[in-house]
Amino acid sequence: MRPRPALSAAAALLALTVLAGCGTADPSASLPTGTKEGGDLVYATDREPTCLDPHNSGDMPQTYIARQYLDSLVSMKADGTVVPWLAQSWDVSKDGKTYDFHLKKGVEFTDGEPLDADAVVANFEQIMDPDTQSSTDLLYLSPYFEKATAVSEHTVRVTLKRPYSPLLTVLSQAFFGIESPRAMARGLEANCAAPVGTGPFKVAEWKRNQEVVLERNDDYDSAPADAKHQGPAYLEKVTWRFLKDNTARFGALQSGKAQAIFNLPPESVPAATADSRIDTDDFVHSGVPFALDFNTDSPQLSDVRVRRAIVHAADAPGIVESAYAGVFPYEGNALSSGTPDYDESYHEPFPYDPDKAAKLLDEAGWTGRDEDGYRTKDGKTLTLRLPYNSDPGETPPADLTIFQNFQAMEKRVGIKVELQPKDAASMTAIKTDPTAYDLQGRYWNSPTPGVMYIKFSKETLDIDNGQNVARDYDDELDKTLVEAAGTTDPEKQQQLYSTAQGILTSQAWHLPLYPVQTRLATRSDQVKDIWIEPSEGEPVLHDAYLIRDGA
């Protein structure tokens, strides 16, 4: 306790920290030359999954990481076609209700279990089991799925209640990655911590709030047909790090602490573009763009004129431009531009027009004004509650800016928007409580335009799981989408899906804002061949390799 040792200890510590900070390790320093083999990659991402088994829940971070250790039955290419993966081939019955998948032979899970028809059946059963607490997978499957059976050792039959033409694209997502039955039998908790697949990597360790360590599966030989190479991955180890803070994540890339980061923060895009060592790769998700959904159960929003007025008043392109620094494009259609059968004529259906908004509101009877200048009808102020998750990981700062800009824009036409930050539990409760919200910011990434049915159908509304946020349906729309799911004729599909987009636009059940993007930034001087697969924008590390001298 004498001061002297304390002081010298402090001095020594300072000296040590300064010295040690001088050199940053070059990841390629000790790599064998003349090959792509070997090395560790640090991949830093924003959100941490709550469970590594993507069958559980079904949030985007789960699918991104699951792609690294799980293989799916099929793989989707950018043009929407589906190519073999764990299923070498498949037969679809004439009525579109029976799918026979013929599995690759000789594939093993990393725990030694064989990949056979029984294993695939077990996966479907686990997905449908309430104990798995699946959400996304169930929304895709339950309206259609009847059962899965093993026809032979390597043939699985999926039987549907009614035809479902998007099934193959749906199954290509890592949300439907195939897991070892033995691992799934351990129960949800163990399986969440370390699911076992047939993929190019295996989960070695999950340090919560920090990283997941993935190790190479040396026996890997079941890459999808569209992979850049077959056989094991080049990287020996991947550190999948969680850096929620945007500044820190971009800083990690700049300093070379991470070779790739996922979701380059929009505010860092100019710096990234200026840096010659940084490559960026943008992927526009298909599905429903990020939108403010209007709850039609609210009396003020049951009137389509009010809904249209909100859209006209918003200056949505300006809002997105300000919040996302011009990095994200604006999208006013119910589908994102990358979705198959996207119809461009609905890109900006209700352009910024405050006068028109005012006229519509007058027509709807919101003609009075309260002391703050907000519109009233029968003495009630035109107020819209917009609850959002206060966790910045769930509501990124740019989205919060969007909400604030939206609020300020609507104020100009006399609509009062109340921003209500909520914790995760309340948000979950709000999703199934139509009295608790008027507006909600939501998106639905999906490889198929059939997602419109998930989000806006009577069937989803009847399930009452909160996915039909607008809480409304349109018989014509339902009929159109069911018909589209029942046909395999591309022309007919395009025509039907286009009709659906038209109906959705005229209903104005939501204010679409921007298509969700995957923005990958990589150190081009350190790593090559990370690519983004198109079904859910999952990054693929199987083909990635570290740059070194002589390679």
Partner: protein
Amino acid sequence: MTALATAPETAAPAAGSRSRARRARRATALRSASFWLAAVVVVLVLLAAVAPGLLAPQDPLEISLGESFDAPSAAHVFGTDQSGRDVFSRVVHGAGQSLAIGLGATAIGLVGAIVLGLLGGLGGRLADASVTRVIEVLYAFPGILLALILIAVYGSSALTQMVAVGVATMPGYARMVRGQVLAVKGSLYVESARALGHSPARILTRTILPNAFRPLTVLVTLGVGQAIVWAAALGFLGMGVQPPTAEWGAMLNAGRTYIQQAWWMDFFPGITIVVFTLSLTVLGRHLQRAADSGASR
């Protein structure tokens, strides 16, 4: 508790030392300069809190989508934020709410502390023992930890933030009130008041309370600064007032995101808090010195 008599410099007369006198004069001048500077800052912040429109006529909530992230300039001396709002206006308009949270928290902390302290100081032995225990238990959550627990339970809001900070400052005040009451209770003038036959109620209200609380006024000056800093820290973590409201902590939180491209969004609210709390500290110490010299005469 006031260890005034142990400072030998006052006891040993500075006989005939001219340089020492000069030094003392210079020190006094320095001190009074710092006093006036601090006073000006505090008055300005109070003015901002009461009538923000006088200092910053712009609407702190009005967005301007084309003017996001403008660096400080003549038009926007503190720059603009991500929605093109004027940061200076937001700092000025934020004073009211930030100050209200700081004062409210201090009031909550003090009321709780006074109840606890009086109970401990004036109640019986058992009461004192239990109060001491309660204070100890509260002490076991250092700093803003107690506040964080409360926010975890009740969720983020301006009210929770204020209550949480108040409760977090309470044990410190409580310990002081208790010590002060005990010290005054055992002092000579209370003895003499008792000897004069004054009623216990009169002794309590006229003698014990005023004497016990006098040092507290100084602490409150300092404590408000502390409460504002803690509240701002919670705001910085996103656990306080929510956007788009202009409030210092909330502004810090918003600025953190854009720290690499718009440093002014965090720098100016931050330095406002630093300068303001520093000014409160300077004022508090002057008050303290005045109180001390008054007491020693």
